[in-house]
Structures are given as C-alpha cells and as structure tokens.
C-alpha cells in the first residue's frame, strides 16, 4: 500500500539488498555455559531468512543479542547500521514468542495494534487519524480488520498471533523479527501469516528474520535458512538444505526430526 511508502517520518525505506542485520563472530555464555560460539548471520533488505535449531541451540539468546537486551561476550552486532542499543526502535518490528496477553482487563485488537504506533510517532504524542489508518491497514494485511473491536482474549490462538504481527507492522518496520510465531497455529492463520510477511517484503522492502520449526507454510518464500546449534551449522538456500536430505515443505515433520538428531 502506498500509505506506508508516502507517509514515513523522514527516514526512507532501505535499499533492496542493504544489510539490516550483521552479526559477526558473536559468542555468548551464561556463566560457564557457552551458548553461542562464533556465530555470524546477516539479513538484508527484501530478504526472508529462517533461523532454526533444536531446543537450547541459542536461538532465543541470539535474538536477545540482536534486540540489544543481551550484550555479546565477543564479536560485533550491527542492526540497521547501528549498535543494537542505539537503533531507532520503530524500525524493528518484533513478534514475541508467547506474549503474556491472558489479559486481566479486556483489550480490543485495535487497542493492542495501536500500541505498535507508539514507537513510530513518539509515545507521548496523541494518536492522529493517520495512525488509525496505519492500524486499519496493518489489520487488513493480517486479515483481522473485521475483528478490530473484538477483545483479544475472544480470539483463537492463531488470530491472536496475527494481531501481534499487525502490532509489529503498525510501526512500519524495516526489519521484522518473529520468535516462533506460528507454533500451534491453525492452517488459515498460517496462510494469512505467509501472505502478510510476503506483502511486507515485496511492498515495503523489509527484511524478515523468522525463528521457527514450522517452515512448511513459508518454504517457497524463504531466501535462506540458517541452522543454529551453538554454532551456525548451515546457512544457505532451502533447496541446498533439501539437497542435504532435509525436507522443509513436503514432509514438514522432517525438519523437527532432523533438528532433534543434531543434539
């Protein structure tokens, strides 16, 4: 949609191929336990990258390093050309793994997604009509426009997850980071999810880093798959992984099984 392209507050869209995430030889440990060892990873604008690995492989730790909540013991991290703590936050869209939104007080889908505008326009500023337009557009792109006024806790798990994706979209991110967003989500939501990610990449030139075990819904759109287990074991196109005998699409259970075998 032209809205996002025309009304950006000053900063232009990243050029296609511009490096959005640059992780170089990063190591990290909790106490004496090494979690990440010489990990390097990049995500470029317009690129759709999946990060996979067995449980305890350091995926979540790597995301925390990327998002600036953990400082690496060694190596360098640049996000959108900046140190993770100094990057302009609105440029990163984040979809957490299990948002703890078993809300005490009812909150509508629109209220949740409006929060996504706070970082873009300044949290102290009142919302304008244009902000509501962005929210409407974000909700449309995940297929929830009809449910804008519905309390979030009346939605299915898949619909809730799409609301959180819309919240990330609402800040017009250049980089979208998703932590296990489609775990246990229904088929329709997986389809919608794929459609909205592809839309963000194609229309807005954003880069996407997806942490997930379930890649079957998006396998045909992925540019790269990165397999992590403390170190990077594989970084390449999905068909190269398929050539190694690991199927991402036809037999979706193959990937989890293979990841288990990596332990």
């Amino acid at each position: 949609m032209p809205l996002a392209a025309t009304e950006r507050d000053g900063a232009g869209r990243p050029a296609r191929g511009e490096v959005l995430v640059q992780v170089q030889d990063v190591s990290f440990g909790y106490g004496r336990i090494r979690v990440l060892e010489d990990v390097s990873l990049s995500v470029r604008a317009g690129e759709f990258v999946a990060l996979v690995g067995p449980n305890g492989s350091g995926k979540s730790t790597l995301l925390k390093v990327l998002l600036g909540s953990l400082a690496p013991a060694a190596g360098t991290v640049r996000v959108l050309g900046e140190h993770p703590e100094r990057v302009q936050r609105a440029r990163i869209g984040y979809v957490p793994q299990r948002p703890n939104l078993d809300s005490e007080v009812p909150a509508t889908v629109e209220e949740i997604v409006l929060a996504g505008r706070l970082s873009r326009r300044g949290w102290w500023r009142p919302m304008r009509r244009s902000d509501r337009e962005f929210v409407r557009h974000a909700l449309e792109s995940v297929g929830l426009a009809q449910l804008a006024q519905t309390p979030l806790n009346e939605l299915s798990g898949g619909q809730q997850q799409r609301a959180f994706i819309a919240r990330a979209f609402a800040s017009e991110p250049d980089l979208l980071v998703l932590d296990e967003p489609i775990a246990g989500v229904d088929a329709e939501s997986q389809l919608r999810f794929r459609g909205s990610i592809v839309h963000l990449i194609e229309e807005h030139g954003a880069g996407v880093l997806l942490v997930s075990h379930e890649l079957s819904a998006v396998v045909s759109d992925l540019d790269r798959v990165v397999v992590l287990k403390g170190r990077v074991l594989f970084d390449g196109r999905p068909d190269e992984l398929a050539a190694a005998g690991v199927s991402l699409g036809v037999h979706p259970e193959d990937l989890p099984l293979w990841l288990e075998g990596l332990r």
Binding site: L101, V105, P106, T108, A115, S119, W123, P151
Partner: protein, 288 residues
C-alpha cells in the same frame, strides 16, 4: 454556606465529604485499571501500609501528637512514594516476585507505623482516621489537597494512557519497541503512592486498595475494551461513593466501609446478572 442539595447532602460537612469522595471515586479506579492489568491488584494495600508508617513519622515530628496538623499526610506521602519506588525496583530486577516484594513492604510498613506512632505518643484514636478514613470530618484544606493530587493523577493517566497500557500489558515487547519502560513504571508507581495518600482521609489506609480494584473488577465484566473498562470503573467508583455516603447518613453507618461494601455489591450483582444472561442464552440456544 452549603449548596442547595437535597437530603442527605444538604449539610456542609456532607457536601465536603461528597466532593472529596467523588474525586477519589474518579482517580482511584482510573489508576486501578492499569494496576489490575499489571496484576498488582494488592499494591494499593501494600502502599497503604507503608503510608501508615509515614503517618507515624508525621506524628513523631509534630509538636503536639494529638494535633499533628498536616504532618501525618506529608509523612505518608514521602513514605508511600519511597515505598512504591522500592516495590517497583524489586519487581523490575526480579529480586522478588511482585507479591513477595509487596509483602516485604506491607509488613515492614504496618509494623513501622505502630512503632513510630507509639514513640511519638500518638497511638490513640486519631490514628483511626487514617486507618479507616473519615470523610465526614474532611476540612477545606484537605479537600484542596485531595482535588489537587487527584487532578494531577487524572491528567497523568489520560496523557500517558496508551504508553502505560502497552507497558502494563506487554512489558517485554514495550522494551523492544523502545518505550521508556522504567520511566513509565516509575510514573505509575508514584501515581499509586500519591493516590493512596490522597484517598487516605476518605476511605482509609486499609480500604484504599478496594477503591482501586473493586470498580475495575466490575468494569471489566461490563466492558469489551480497555478504554471501556476504565470509564465503567470510574462510573462505578463515583456511584459507589455517592450511594455509600447517602446510605451511611440515612442509616448511620460508617461511611468508608459503606462505600467499599457498595463497590463489592456492584461486582456481585454484575457477576450474577452476567452469569444469568449467559445461562439463559445457553438454555435458549439448547431449546432452539
């Protein structure tokens, strides 16, 4: 000269109680909506106990313990602000879980209050005013304090409502999104402390948390949005104060307790009515 209001609000002292009570009925549920969403419903109670230690400190500092003037209120304000920041500090650093952090301050506060007040020689009936509230004896100066503090809280909550909503709903996401999570939590903590002290004379330290939480408990049954919950809660808060004061005058009941009982009766009524509607819908559906 009292305003020309009908019975039971025709007398000046009832009208002062009404003004003070309505202000509390507005700001306490408003801040309570964020507190409940943050799952810290008992924080008002915890801060109330700490404020009691501040009352004790105020009595010590006063020249005459039996007529300490406004010193107990300022003492309560200082203790409540420091205490609420301490609870938030412990919670944010995960040094103690939210309710453990509360309990630590809760018990230290009430114990400190008793010890300090006894030291000051003021452990007498005048402390009951702070523990259980006494809206009928509120004077003009106290009304000015309550209205001033209340207006500050209402303005802060309305101005920051979207950012506060984001933080109390999803703190991890808010941090990644670059919201000043620490500062917003601090503003909320200070606002809770200020509202506890502002409401102290009306409902009392032991019942303050009730006015923050009970109207919200009812509001979230009636509303389908965060915004709707907040306005329903304020309406129920104000309604409970007006009805509670009226009934306490008519039947000679304790005003603060009556106000809170009305607020809990509202919850019971709405919960039962909602359950009845849900049951009727279900059986209606089964017949069809």
């Amino acid at each position: 000269m009292p305003w020309p209001l009908p019975y039971p609000f025709e007398l000046a002292f009832m009208q002062r109680a009404l003004v003070a009570g309505v202000v509390v009925g507005i700001f306490a549920p408003m801040i309570g909506t964020f507190v409940v969403q943050k799952r810290m419903s008992l924080i008002g109670d915890g801060i109330g106990h700490i404020a009691f230690a501040g009352v004790g400190a105020g009595v010590i500092l006063a020249a005459s313990p039996n007529d300490p003037g406004m010193l107990p209120v300022w003492g309560a304000l200082v203790f409540a602000v420091v205490g609420s920041l301490g609870i938030e500090w412990l919670r944010a650093r995960r040094a103690a879980s939210g309710d453990l952090a509360l309990a630590l301050f809760f018990y230290s506060g009430i114990a400190g209050g008793v010890v300090l007040a006894k030291l000051g020689g003021g452990l007498n009936a005048s402390l009951f005013v702070y523990l259980f509230g006494q809206p009928l004896t509120v004077d003009q100066g106290e009304i000015a304090v309550i209205v001033g503090l209340g207006a500050t809280i209402v303005i802060a909550m309305l101005a920051l409502r979207r950012a506060l909503f984001a933080v109390v709903t999803d703190e991890e996401w808010s941090r990644v999104a670059g919201l000043p999570v620490g500062a917003l939590n601090t503003v909320l903590a200070i606002s809770i402390a200020v509202s506890v002290v502002a409401a102290m004379r009306v409902v009392g330290i032991l019942l303050i948390a009730a006015m923050m939480v009970l109207p919200v408990a009812t509001g979230q049954l009636l509303a389908r949005s965060f915004r709707g919950t907040m306005w329903w809660s304020v309406a129920i808060g104000v309604g409970s104060v007006v009805l509670g004061l009226a009934l306490s005058r008519i039947w000679g009941l304790v005003p603060s307790g009556t106000i809170v009982l009305i607020a809990s009766a509202c919850f019971a009524l709405v919960a039962v009515a909602k359950r009845g509607v849900a049951l009727r819908l279900r059986t209606g559906g089964a017949e069809a």
